[in-house]
Amino acid sequence: MSILLKNNFERIKHHKSVLFIACIVMPVFICAAIYISNHSTSHEVIAILNSDIPADISCEQYTLMSVEQQPPLSAFINGTYAAFAKKRTDGTYSIITLKGKQDKEAIQSLLTTGRLPADYRGDDLKRKERGIGTNILGFITMLVLMQGVALTTLYPEDRSNGTFRRILSAPCNENQYLAAQFIFTLICIYAPTFAPIAIIHALFGVEIGFSIADIAVLLLLLTVFATAFALFIATVFDRNTNLIATGISVVTCIIAGCFIEISTNNPVLAAICKMIPQTEFMELVHGIEFGKNYFQFRYGIAYILLCSLFFVAMGISIAKRRILEGEY
């Protein structure tokens, strides 16, 4: 198996685009994720018609700005304004916003009473409460899942040029071959993902929300899952694996709340969300960032590992079946 592993490292040197993405682009994207997560955004803006800004307003979540006419709707869509308010004759405000009912009522309260309701949490506050580390790892989760498939490129290549059959005809079985692919992909995802985070944190003292040890453990769990997923995809699909993996990764990561917190009352959606291993991972990440210990998430961790095991087992069984059917 070590020979196979060594051979993989030797071959990947010649896949310069894969190496470029893994060793340069991934770290750059991770740095960008850390930069954006650490960088405070300007406050959301409420546009108020004709300087009707109440004088005694105290708010840390919104900036109030006077405008001479109602902004176009596109200005709400692109985020220039969070809301537009126009004072009515009775002293209340008519409010136009894309936000939900609760936000609308909070803005009304802000403009009429000068304060937001005590229990109100705007989008920025929610993001802040989610934690910098959770935001960073949420973004990285999607990147790692996509990257896993790109790094498994040697496996489909071996199948298409016949070297897979040749390797299996040597004293080496498909379990050993796939184990070597697994270890290879794991190392190739883990090292360029962990290194930039560790360097940024250790050298520049940038806040990442976790200790280095926690990041090391969490990333290991994530990369084990991503590797298993990649092996499964690479076994099941013969072509367009990158495109398929990107589609699946983007959709599942959104549902799992990797980018924004997802809360739903719909039981079907909630059940679907819960089935996705990334959801358990995000819960674990959030918990660890806010001081809980790993034992409290033992079922979640076990679920992620079981899913990984399932993907690997499926990958091996499909590969075995196809070998027997002479497809490879």
């Binding site: 596109s74 985020g79 009912k101 990158n242 495109l243 924004i260 739903t264």
Partner: protein
């Protein structure tokens, strides 16, 4: 005439690739559904629901991804050798790369030409009401630009794997800077200035104006900008595409 024949063959090749068809028909709807559903709580129902918002944004996102269809139409392993055999026939080199651009463009024109009215009139999402035709027009030009972009990467890297891997970087950067996944307006001014380099941002801002403001002011400048960019990409294809590199 030969261009039409190659074009028909290329379209046939794309149709025989279920992943490409899926990613240009069902996937945009899934993305709209998923994004709309999971962000429902953060939006009101009027004037714009989460489904309206992500309907437009995911449509732009999906059209951006047409570049991947173009690279696949050109150099996917199963069609690559056949595609380059064409070079032996009496066809000019521009007919070869233009057919890939046009076939993937036609796919996007057909798919999104159907998807937008379906979203508007069947799914009742706001795609501009009677203005939806301008949105479709913009997506057409934007899609064409994406196809030229994808084909250009094939001409540069001469290999689908490399073209797709490297192309994903500027593609995703443009998408993120375009603000179609999350708004970037409130990030610092540097990021904001940078976002104006992204054609996705041009298309997104223009779409918002068409759909939500009933304003067509940006339509022609953006379309001209996208076409200029497309011709630049085609120019690069013309300079770099050499059939002998593929034999």
């Amino acid at each position: 005439m030969n261009l039409l024949r190659i074009l028909r063959q290329d379209l046939g090749n794309i149709i025989h690739n279920p992943s490409l068809i899926f990613s240009n028909t069902i996937l945009p709807l899934i993305l709209i559904g998923v994004m709309g559903f999971v962000t429902k709580g953060g939006f009101g129902t009027e004037p714009v629901s989460s489904f309206d918002y992500y309907g437009v944004n995911m449509m732009i996102f999906s059209v951006s991804m047409i570049a991947i269809t173009a690279t696949n139409a050109f150099m996917e392993e199963r069609v690559k050798r056949g595609n380059f055999r064409i070079a032996y026939a009496p066809v000019s080199k521009q007919e070869i790369y233009l057919s890939k651009i046009l076939s993937s463009y036609l796919l996007s024109a057909i798919c999104y030409g159907v998807l937008v009215p379906v979203c508007q009139y069947v799914l009742r999402l706001n795609m501009g009401g009677s203005n939806f035709i301008y949105f479709v027009l913009l997506l057409n030009v934007f899609g064409f630009c994406g196809c030229c972009f994808g084909t250009m990467f094939c001409c540069i890297f001469k290999n689908e794997e490399q073209a797709n891997s490297i192309m994903q970087i500027p593609l995703f950067l443009s998408i993120i800077l375009g603000g179609v996944i999350f708004q970037i307006h409130r990030f610092d001014s540097f990021l904001n200035r940078l976002s104006w380099l992204s054609p996705v941002k041009w298309a997104a801002d223009c779409s918002y104006q068409i759909i939500y403001d009933n304003d067509l002011h940006l339509l022609y400048p953006v379309m001209i900008g996208l076409l200029v960019l497309s011709f630049f990409f085609i120019g690069v294809c013309h300079i770099l595409f050499k059939p002998e590199d593929y034999i």
